[in-house]
């Protein structure tokens, strides 16, 4: 093992979050999150509703301020400048500059509805980076091509399906040539038949070496694409590691019960009467390779 080289950008992971804490008027949502993401890694964040996954992502690109801990992205301390041990808040301009290198994809797409697909993608490169229009347009068209929407440059978001909108949103984030992409449940607002097209784009992005933090409930995506899975609950990281071992062989009770619930949600167990629920869950485990217990002899992956 080579000795770590602390305090230099070269030795630091692309994202280095230490003891991140966040409360919303007294409600402690993040209780000291530690997370390192190396360049080119894909991290999937899993966890039950309300566990703080969205909040953590929003803290990374400063849509929320943090109360405690530190977040570095590519060696830059987010939101503050450390001058001889004293933290000074960054002004809005400096914060905007830090956000430029971090792409974010939202659950509800948040495309600009008054702009066409192409204009959505060109907006930030022109307005933020001051690129010239022709150049930005050229790259926007390439990006549309990359997400499979080369025939929709002048469609307004309202004229696109959810899956198409989300692909435009990914292209829009990529147009800023970010070092890091954050995805907050990018497919959970989509009809089931549209999920695949968005995941395919993300998979390709991961293969091209993009560093990504993905909050998702898509277990197969996590298992196949993630380099590491992080399971959060109640504002802490409960378990993390290799996706196959965490998903197929969870160590903690909370992870186990979450994964079991995930599996049953696939079969809309919430609409099943309480008395039948266990039976349905048991059935589910025969149909899927996610075990209810620690190990499953059939597992051959």
């Amino acid at each position: 093992m080579s000795a770590p080289t602390p305090d230099t950008n070269a030795g630091m992971p692309l994202v280095h979050a230490v003891n991140v804490m966040k409360a919303f008027d007294g409600n402690q949502v993040l209780k000291g999150i530690d997370l390192d993401v190396r360049k080119g890694q894909v991290i999937c964040l899993l966890g039950p509703s309300g566990s703080g996954k969205t909040t953590f992502l929003r803290c990374i690109n400063q849509l929320e301020t943090i109360d405690g801990g530190r977040i570095w992205v590519d060696g830059d301390l987010m939101g503050y400048e450390d001058r001889g041990g004293t933290l000074h808040e960054l002004n809005n301009r400096a914060i905007a500059a830090q956000r430029r290198d971090i792409g974010m994809v939202f659950q509800k797409f948040n495309l600009f509805p008054h702009k066409t697909a192409l204009e959505n993608i060109m907006e930030a490169p022109i307005q933020v980076k001051g690129e010239n229009k022709a150049e930005a347009r050229e790259r926007a068209l390439t990006l549309l091509d990359r997400v499979g929407l080369q025939d929709k440059p002048s469609a307004y978001p309202a004229q696109l399906s959810g899956g198409q909108q989300q692909r435009v949103a990914i292209a829009r984030a990529l147009a800023m040539q970010p070092k890091l992409m954050l995805f907050d449940e990018p497919t959970s607002a989509l009809d089931p038949e549209l999920v695949g097209e968005v995941l395919a784009v993300m998979r390709e992005l991961a293969n091209e070496g993009m560093t990504m933090i993905v909050v998702t409930h898509e277990m197969s995506f996590a298992r196949e694409v993630a380099d590491e899975v992080v399971f959060m609950d109640g504002g802490v990281v409960v378990e993390q590691g290799d996706p196959k071992s965490v998903i197929n062989n969870p160590q903690h009770a909370r992870t186990k019960s979450f994964l079991r619930r995930m599996q049953s949600e696939h079969h809309a167990v919430e609409h099943v009467p309480e008395s039948l629920r266990d039976a349905v869950i048991a059935e589910t485990h025969h149909l899927h390779d996610i075990p209810a217990s620690n190990s499953d002899p059939d597992e051959t992956e």
Partner: protein, 316 residues
């Protein structure tokens, strides 16, 4: 597939439409009322139609229409809309000084009736009896501190003429309008989903650009329809300008023709027709503005060339 009706399957529908006897009664009543009104308008000599049309095109009347009604409305709405949007943005700012200033502004100008505001505005000259000078504030004090004589002023204006003229009219009506527009613009800004500003910020846009390029254009969809009402109200409120007193104004000119010629009623009819014509033109303008800012929102999107082409390509 065949269009020939077969005996066993029902064919084309040829049903008797539902009768609407109520409609026929209403049409009859309205027809009678309309006939009565037409009879009144065309046979009652008090209307004096030849005089009405003559009065409408008198040159002082046309001058009053251009200056007092159209120009003042346009300038006051420009002051009102830009001031109102500025006040709304300030009001929503996290900076307590800015939002306090905006609140106070709205409180002050919304609370004063326009007639009272214009009358007071016309009398503001009394504050600046020696004229209104443009220059560096407290220049006499600065020069005194520097141990020099003289002042730092570039121009001197007659305050009486200033406030009782077009400037006073636009200032008074514009600021009053800004107070109303501030509330309209604030509602518009708040109607835009918070995710829009977040998406812009996540792309690294600063808050000014986020507001100008992302939030305000979407807020316009909510802001434009009530602004059309405001513009129409403004046209009508220019008839208050005599309070300044600004005499280059449509209603004042027509009513003075009325009192000079003892044909008061036809003069008022002439004014009525002018106001209706102007407000009708504004309504057409509002239609096009609403269509412009409806871009990308459902069927309201304009069918411009780019849009038509994409729809063709996408087969949508």
């Amino acid at each position: 597939m065949s269009l020939t009706p077969s005996t066993d399957r029902p064919g084309l529908i040829e049903a008797r439409p539902v009768r609407h006897p109520g409609r026929w009664v209403a049409i009859a009543v309205i027809a009678v009322l309309t006939a009565m009104l037409a009879n009144l308008i065309f046979t009652n000599g008090a209307f004096n139609w030849p005089f009405v049309f003559q009065a409408m095109v008198q040159s002082p009347v046309l001058h009053g229409l251009y200056i007092g009604t159209l120009l003042t409305t346009a300038l006051s709405m420009i002051v009102g809309v830009s001031g109102g949007v500025l006040m709304a943005v300030m009001r929503l700012s996290p900076n307590p000084v800015l939002s306090g200033v905006a609140w106070t502004f709205t409180w002050f100008f919304r609370g004063i009736p326009r007639l009272v505001l214009l009358t007071t505005m016309g009398a503001l000259g009394v504050l600046f009896k020696k004229g209104l000078d443009l220059g560096i504030p407290f220049d006499w004090k600065i020069m005194e501190l520097l141990g020099m004589d003289g002042t730092l002023r570039f121009a001197s204006l007659n305050a009486n003429e200033l406030f009782a003229g077009l400037f006073g009219a636009v200032l008074g009506l514009g600021l009053s309008e800004a107070a109303y527009m501030a509330e309209i613009a604030r509602a518009g800004i708040l109607s835009v989903d918070k995710g829009q500003a977040e998406a812009a910020q996540a792309l690294g846009m600063n808050s000014g650009k986020t507001m100008l390029r992302i939030v305000l254009p979407q807020a316009m969809r909510v802001i434009v329809p009530p602004t059309g009402n405001e513009a129409i109200a403004m046209v009508k409120d220019t008839s208050l300008l005599i309070a300044l007193p600004l005499i280059d104004e449509l209603f004042f000119q027509l009513s003075s023709i009325g009192s000079r010629t003892y044909k008061v009623f036809p003069s008022f009819v002439a004014a009525t027709i002018w106001y209706l014509l102007v407000t009708s033109v504004l309504m057409v303008g509002q239609f096009y503005l609403e269509r412009h800012f409806g871009r990308g929102f459902g069927q309201k999107a304009p069918k411009n060339k780019r849009f038509a082409r994409s729809a063709g390509m996408g087969g949508a």
